[in-house]
C-alpha cells in the first residue's frame, strides 16, 4: 500500500470505475434476459388468431346491419 495521496486517489477511481462497469454489465445482462423472451412472445402472439370466422351468425349480423 502506498501513502502517496495521488496513488490513493487513483486506486479509489479505479475501484469506482470497476464497480460502475460491473453494474452496467449486470443490468445489461439482466435486461437481455428479460427482453429476449418478451420479444419472442410478442412475435409469437402476433400470429395468433383471436378466433374470428365468418359463421352463419356473423353473416346474419352483416345482413341485418345494412
Amino acid at each position: 500500500m502506498s501513502n502517496n495521496p495521488d496513488t490513493k486517489a487513483a486506486n479509489r477511481r479505479q475501484f469506482f470505475k470497476a464497480a460502475g462497469l460491473g453494474a452496467v454489465a449486470a443490468s445489461a445482462a439482466g435486461a437481455g434476459t428479460i427482453a429476449a423472451p418478451s420479444a419472442a412472445k410478442a412475435a409469437e402472439t402476433t400470429l395468433e388468431s383471436a378466433g374470428y370466422s365468418e359463421t352463419a351468425h356473423v353473416k346474419t349480423y352483416y345482413a341485418l346491419a345494412k
Partner: protein, 198 residues
C-alpha cells in the same frame, strides 16, 4: 385476413346506453369499470351527437408503444389485447390512449390502480378462452364462439358496427350514399366542411 374494427354511425345513435349495459353484463365487468361508454356532445342543443366509445383496436396502438412491461399484443385480426398477469397498473396506457379506453379497478394509496381493464373486442385474453380464470380476467370470448362483440350485435339502431373492417366500411358507405348528404359522422364537418342537406 379480416381486420376487426368498430365503427360508430353517429347519425343513428340514440344514446340508449344498451351497448354499455350489454358489455358490462356479458363480461361481468367489476364495479367502477366501463369498457364502453356513450359520450354526448352538444347535449340538448341542435347538432347533438352521441358516440359510443371503447377501445378502437388501433392499427398503430399508442398503448402498445408506451407500455413499460410490454403486456399488450395484437392478434392476427388486429385485436389489441393485453395480459393482466404482466400489467403493473402504471397507467401509461391510460395517458397514451386518445379514447380513454384503459380503465383501472381501484384507486389506492401511493397511486395504486390495480390491473388495467379494457375492451377486448369480445376476444378474451392470452389464456385459453374457455377457462374460468380467463373469463374472470378478460370476459367472454365471443369471437372464438363464432360471434361478434355483443355491443355491436345488440345495438337496436345498428349505429355501432363491429366486425371485419372491410365489410362494415361497405355497410357504412351504402348508408352514406343512401342518405345523400355526407357521412353524418361526428367530426365530419370539422374535417371536410359542413354537409349540405338539400
Amino acid at each position: 385476413m379480416a381486420r376487426m374494427k368498430f365503427l360508430l354511425d353517429a347519425e343513428r345513435c340514440t344514446e340508449c346506453n344498451a351497448c354499455v349495459t350489454a358489455c358490462k353484463n356479458e363480461h361481468e365487468v367489476p364495479w367502477g369499470i366501463n369498457r364502453r361508454r356513450v359520450v354526448t356532445l352538444n347535449d340538448g342543443k341542435p347538432g347533438e351527437r352521441s358516440i359510443s366509445m371503447a377501445c378502437m383496436h388501433c392499427t398503430d396502438a399508442p398503448c402498445m408503444a408506451v407500455c413499460p412491461v410490454d403486456c399488450f399484443y395484437k392478434t392476427a385480426e388486429g385485436v389489441v389485447l393485453h395480459s393482466k398477469d404482466l400489467c403493473i397498473g402504471c397507467g401509461y396506457c391510460f395517458y397514451a390512449c386518445p379514447f380513454g379506453a384503459p380503465q383501472y379497478p381501484q384507486a389506492g394509496n401511493f397511486g395504486t390502480r390495480g390491473k388495467m381493464d379494457k375492451c377486448t373486442f369480445c376476444a378474451g385474453g392470452p389464456e385459453a378462452s374457455t377457462t374460468d380464470a380467463s373469463f374472470a380476467k378478460y370476459g367472454r370470448n365471443r369471437l372464438a364462439e363464432g360471434k361478434l362483440p355483443l355491443c355491436a350485435e345488440m345495438c337496436s339502431t345498428k349505429a355501432l358496427l363491429g366486425g371485419d373492417g372491410d365489410v362494415i366500411a361497405g355497410i357504412y358507405r351504402e348508408r352514406v350514399a343512401t342518405r345523400g348528404y355526407g357521412s353524418g359522422a361526428w367530426g365530419w364537418a370539422t374535417a371536410y366542411g359542413a354537409p349540405s342537406r338539400t
